[in-house]
Symmetry: C3
């Protein structure tokens, strides 16, 4: 199945420069693309591959429209080439393994569960009492959906996911394999030398259009709810503790850990492996650098890095000073010698 560049450009919101009747039938990276495929350039790091790509056409930003070294190869010029490529992939990409419509006979589904229209439930799935699965949702093999869990419409639950604690999962959500939503929060009350388990009886509420990576853990609240806002995207191996709230449209990169009861605002970006202590607030639009250790609340739109995390501009200056520390030691030694001489002269 192919499309002309004109058709693709119309769909992705770009403009053809060159021959718009060229047909492309697939997409690929700038180095791997073959004739007949469409590629893109977004990160300038890959600019050097531009003249050599074997792709039949390239999605670029306006800066590249007039370049001579492209030998007249047709282009689609778009404001956001990566976004345009994403849309092109939706047209031209190869859909992944699908689950057949209907309920596989090996699935074990409680009689009191409610299964919507057009749902696909794969083999070896288990769905508990009074669970609700919305219309058009796909549940891959090996998934466990506990009693009282509610899954919205057109949501995709990948293989071997566990949903518990009467969690509520929104519409058009994707949960990748191995993730656990609704496991007990880590709460213990000290009694002498022992740690007595604090029962965790809250739930997890995941908004619409959320994506949750593989092997992520989102714990149920002690009481109340752990919440993930609409449109938030969570990468693999992230830990979200009990009673955490993450706002709408935030990005949580792989291996981040968010401790209990911390509230993360809207449009926040948490870099990979960053850690947040509990009971703090991260303001809307804040950015936390990768591996940062956040030990206090962060203002809206603040950018922080390092351990303990502080304003990125300050942290950068401290790192620059640190680099020059051996030199400073030498300078102080020199100063001391000069003083010795002056004092002797005195």
């Amino acid at each position: 199945m192919g499309f002309t560049l004109e058709e693709v450009a119309r769909q992705v919101g770009g403009t053809v420069v060159g021959d718009g009747s060229v047909v492309v039938s697939g997409v690929a990276g700038i180095r791997e693309a073959e004739p007949g495929q469409l590629t893109f350039l977004s990160n300038p790091k890959y600019e050097r591959y531009l003249p050599m790509t074997r792709a039949s056409a390239i999605i670029v930003s306006g800066d590249y429209a007039g370049r001579q070294d492209l030998n007249g190869k047709p282009l689609i010029v778009a404001e956001n080439p990566y976004g345009a490529f994403a849309r092109a992939m939706e047209m031209l990409g190869d859909p992944a393994d699908a689950v057949e419509k209907g309920i596989h006979p090996s699935a074990v589904i409680a009689e009191s569960a409610t299964i919507g229209e057009g749902v696909s439930i794969g083999p070896q799935v288990v769905i508990g009492k009074e669970a609700v699965i919305g219309d058009g949702t796909v549940v891959y093999p090996g998934v466990y959906i506990g009693a009282g869990v509610q899954v919205g419409r057109d949501t995709i639950i990948r293989p071997n996911v566990t949903l518990k604690a009467a969690s509520r999962i929104g519409d058009r959500v994707i949960v990748h394999s191995g993730s656990v939503i609704g496991s007990d929060g880590f709460g213990f009350a000290r009694e002498g030398d022992c740690h007595r388990k604090v029962p965790q009886i809250g739930t997890v509420i995941v908004g619409d259009d959320v994506e949750i990576g593989a092997n992520v853990c989102i714990d149920r609240a002690t009481v109340g709810a752990t919440r993930i806002g609409n449109g938030t995207k969570i990468d693999n191996l992230v830990q979200i503790a009990h009673n955490v709230v993450v706002g709408e449209g935030s990005i949580v990169v792989a291996q981040v850990g968010i401790s209990g009861s911390t509230e993360v605002g809207r449009g926040v970006v948490l870099g990979g492996q960053a850690g947040l202590v509990g009971h703090i607030t991260i303001g809307d639009g804040a950015m936390v650098a990768a591996q940062a250790g956040v030990t206090r609340s962060i203002d809206a739109r603040e950018r922080v890095s390092g351990y303990p995390a502080q304003k990125h501009s300050v942290a950068k200056r401290l790192l620059a000073c640190l680099q020059r520390l051996p030199d400073l030691f030498r300078r102080v030694k020199d100063v001391e010698a000069r003083l010795d001489r002056l004092e002797e002269d005195d």
Copy 2:
């Protein structure tokens, strides 16, 4: 199902201040609680919510007993309000999704396995040869219990857990979803440019009253056993390598990594995302701060932080010095200028 405050107070070891005949039928956080529910105040950060809570009663410490702004709302005064609330939740909380008693027909259980009295085994479970499941234990759907694994009494194995390597799991243990106990340790012997796998033939021994979070990995020993002591609590996404020993009553927070053969004492607290190198010893009662990188053995009751981890008091002083480093550069520059002038005068 409700209880009077007097009944609750008796059960949780507290004293009613106010009307002890008030009936509560549920528990909730201080902000979410509704009339008819019981809440608590433990962390002073939440004190500001005290006057506005809609809860019918509050568990507090003695400090709050005489406060005027509570409008005569009945209190349960307890030495440890969080611990008392935990016990109240056991009375009033809503139990999570349960597995029915007996063995689901879709479970595949080896004939030579021994299944105790009152055991619940959910759908799609697989139990291998000569495995032993103790009385009253609950095995959720999708769990794999390998050959020779022994699980104690009244233990709970959540969905999609993997237990291998003839591991021994104690009584009253909880293993949360996605965790893997008894996977091979990461052991290779270099042979020229290759890494030859060192067979991992040891086991894992988990004591009684241990809780293991979601997506945790505890590797089997190369030879001998990886051991987790009684009453130790392990949070989500923790990595425990082969031949590690963790003592009794320790707390291992989310995303911690413990390298091979390291021995962690009793009552130790390892903060989130901390990493420990292999072949070291962490003394009883030691505390390792979040994100610390521990590269040497730690004495009993020592508190360490930073990378490489050192005594917390020292690490804090260094961080304070670091903050003042730009100022130090300025002072040295100033000193140099003053010296220049003095030397000129000289």
Copy 3:
């Protein structure tokens, strides 16, 4: 089943010192070994246990061959005692729980899938359309193998693993429990305040003789392939993002995170919890210390540590300076006082 020391020495490439007719029938660590077992000494930290071990024989390096305090206990002297012990374990170790040959009736296998000779497929396995399982491969219970996935020969897929995205897994690979290969990469294009999912349509290609730990995530490429080279070993809870390339014979320790499109060379060692940003190159034979934060490309054979990671020798010197920082503050204060006096005198 036992072997004489002479037989073991021949197999492991060592030389017996002492009575070569002694029979050993198992292996164990130096502290746990009992009479009848063979142990080894490789790490000098454990040298102190040498005189007390109850093992019937010990594998050591040549340095220990003449020691008096071993009371004439027979030794196998080998150049690489750990490697020799690994081979001895292959002779004497106890194989783990096995899956029976053939296909368990509860497995759900697409008609169009190709299953090789001598394959074992356990209960509750699901294998999708046109998947290929090579000869002699073992698929443990609860595994999901998606449509079009190709698994090589003599490969072992442990319980509850998920293989997706038409991934290609080589020969003699081991994938431990809970790992997810071929989940979507974390790619979003910003559209105003929203993040639009970039479809991930690439695959994952895993070479031969690779070992992948438990609860690891290896994402499929956006387009093209995420690649793991032959003989590379990956520990538990590692995150490998879309379009990453890892070369042959590399070692990736637990909880490492590698961001998108980064290329790791051959024979590289990435220490535990290290994090690598995206779109960089790590040269062949480079070593990244545990917890390092790598923010730029690394040359071949370079050793780096710290945050941001820099040459290990430089990072060590900076850490040493940092330790002496309080002293430097005192020295500068002292210098300032001396200057005050000199200026007064002036």
